[in-house]
């Protein structure tokens, strides 16, 4: 299969708008789960407002949240696919820009020093385009994540050392959740990266924060910490929007990578309750939204 860049451009545009309007099924199910377990009156009211908002967005064909985020595209290329990598990245960038100008969307992207907004959602090295490969035959999967800034500003890296142990990793996560309170738009998905280098650790935290609810860390030790921390953060009383309640997080997600004998890094990246993402799969048969 040859990757059609015109088709990819259209898809990149469509996925941005789709991600901003339709919350994934797993997140909706996550809300139902939190509502069933919330005991705090304010927490229940706030969760009900969030669920109402999802319905209003669908009914009025509107964006769930005004924050159009930093656009991230994750492209996974299978076997027996031919593609021009430079053209592929250009197509994604054009699709992102066209979604912004044609819908139109608020451009939330500025130069980091001049703060100039090009009104295109694009800028130096933005959109972020991550390319990876898997063994599906003649398949290209494109995932679009408009990463909101309220939660992205809740990002931390700590280069712990081996003597600090696993206890320090857990403490770091709990303390960051307390410190962030309502600023990151809880209930959140708390993404935790453990191991790797500093940059990989942070990237793992992002993968964890944007992983669908209902999935578990494939590493057995990571899965154990994930389960324990998921219980722990919901015992802090921070609650939806930090106004009190049980539902501080849908879940804590952990991703791990091997690290150096002298290192014990941990990173936190948060996904807000408007945990938006949209995916599609391109095959010789056409495009299917996931």
């Amino acid at each position: 299969m040859e990757l059609d860049t015109q088709e990819l451009e259209e898809l990149s545009k469509t996925l941005y708008v789709r991600a901003l309007k339709l919350l994934p099924r797993d997140i909706k199910a996550g809300f139902a789960d939190l509502q069933a377990r919330e005991t705090d009156a304010t927490g229940r009211t706030v969760l009900a407002t969030m669920v109402e908002n999802i319905a209003v967005a669908e009914r009025t064909n509107n964006l769930l949240c005004q924050d159009t985020g930093i656009p991230i595209y994750n492209v996974t290329i299978g076997r027996n696919v031919t593609f021009d990598g430079v053209a592929m990245k250009d197509a994604i960038r054009r699709g992102c820009e066209r979604a912004t100008t044609e819908h139109p969307l608020r451009s939330s992207v500025v130069h980091p020093l001049t703060r100039r907004n090009e009104q295109t959602s694009c800028g130096v090295r933005i959109p972020i385009i991550n390319v990876d490969f898997d063994d599906r035959d003649e398949t290209v999967e494109v995932e679009m994540i408009p990463k909101g800034s309220g939660s992205e500003n809740g990002s931390f890296l700590q280069m712990l050392i081996p003597a600090d142990g696993v206890a320090a990793i857990k403490r770091f996560v709990v303390d960051r959740v307390i410190e962030l309170g309502g600023r990151v738009c809880p209930p959140t998905i708390v993404g935790v990266g453990i191991g790797g280098t500093s940059d990989l650790c942070m990237h793992l935290a992002k993968i964890a924060a944007t992983r669908p609810l209902g999935t578990t860390c494939v590493d057995a030790e990571g899965a154990k910490i994930e389960a324990a921390l998921s219980e722990a953060v919901n015992e802090l009383g921070i609650g939806p929007q930090g106004l009190g309640g049980r539902a501080t997080a849908f879940r804590v997600h952990v991703e791990v990578a091997a690290t150096h004998i002298t290192m014990n890094p941990v990173a936190v990246n948060i996904q807000c309750h408007s945990a938006r993402r949209a995916s599609a799969v391109i095959t010789p048969g056409g495009i299917a939204f996931v």
């Binding site: 209003v56 139109p104 500003n153 722990a232």
Partner: protein, 203 residues
């Protein structure tokens, strides 16, 4: 817990009547403001032709569509999606907004710090919590974008919205030193040791 309907702008006495936990619905006028707007006003001495005295300021930058100016869209912008951003970044601007411009209400999400709480006490002000990320719903409370200033900062311009039944919003910080966020933080700090012990991760 009282319910208030406030026809904006309001007086100092009206804002001092608000207590943490009360519910408030706003009518008529609301201003939109955020990072770049406030940096321009207070760090770069930009002035605005709007009179903010007695008004409510929402931490926002909207999604809009450019249209021909009309009675429905006097500013030449139609609202598409208007929501609320995290307030904490704008912490150092609360005091000058109240002191120099006479603003009475800040609306945002996630709460603000001790500096804002002191400013609310000193000048008469309150912070109302809107549910962040519920922008599709919030947009239905906004009738029109009446006017816009400092639009070279677009979308972080200074916006004047015409609103109808904007709320209900919860009073989360008041002019009497009450802060729901401070209370929740103290509560979380008190629970921390037990939570860490259960994780086998105590200090």
């Amino acid at each position: 817990m009282a319910e208030h309907v406030l026809d904006m702008p309001i007086t100092e006495a009206q804002v001092r009547a608000l207590k943490v936990g009360d519910h408030v619905t706003l009518e008529r006028t609301l201003f939109g403001i955020r990072d770049a707007t406030l940096i321009a006003m207070f760090d770069r001495d930009r002035t605005t032709r709007f009179d903010l005295a007695g008004h409510a300021l929402l931490h926002t930058a909207p999604n809009v569509r450019k249209v021909a100016a009309s009675a429905e869209a006097p500013s030449g912008y139609a609202p598409l999606c208007i929501g609320t951003t995290t307030s904490q970044r704008m912490e150092r601007f609360t005091r000058p907004l109240l002191e120099r411009h006479g603003a009475r209400i800040i609306i945002g999400k996630g709460g603000m710090g001790p500096g804002s709480l002191q400013a609310f006490r000193d000048f008469g002000g309150a912070y109302l919590a809107v549910v962040g990320g519920a922008a599709a719903l919030e947009t239905t409370w906004i009738e029109a974008i009446e006017d816009v200033d400092l639009d070279d900062l677009h979308p972080e311009s200074l916006w004047r919205f015409r609103i109808r039944h904007f709320g209900p919003l919860m009073v989360a910080m008041d002019s009497h030193g009450g802060s729901l966020y401070a209370r929740i933080q103290e509560n979380a700090a008190a629970r921390r040791a037990a939570v860490l012990a259960k994780l086998d991760a105590g200090d």
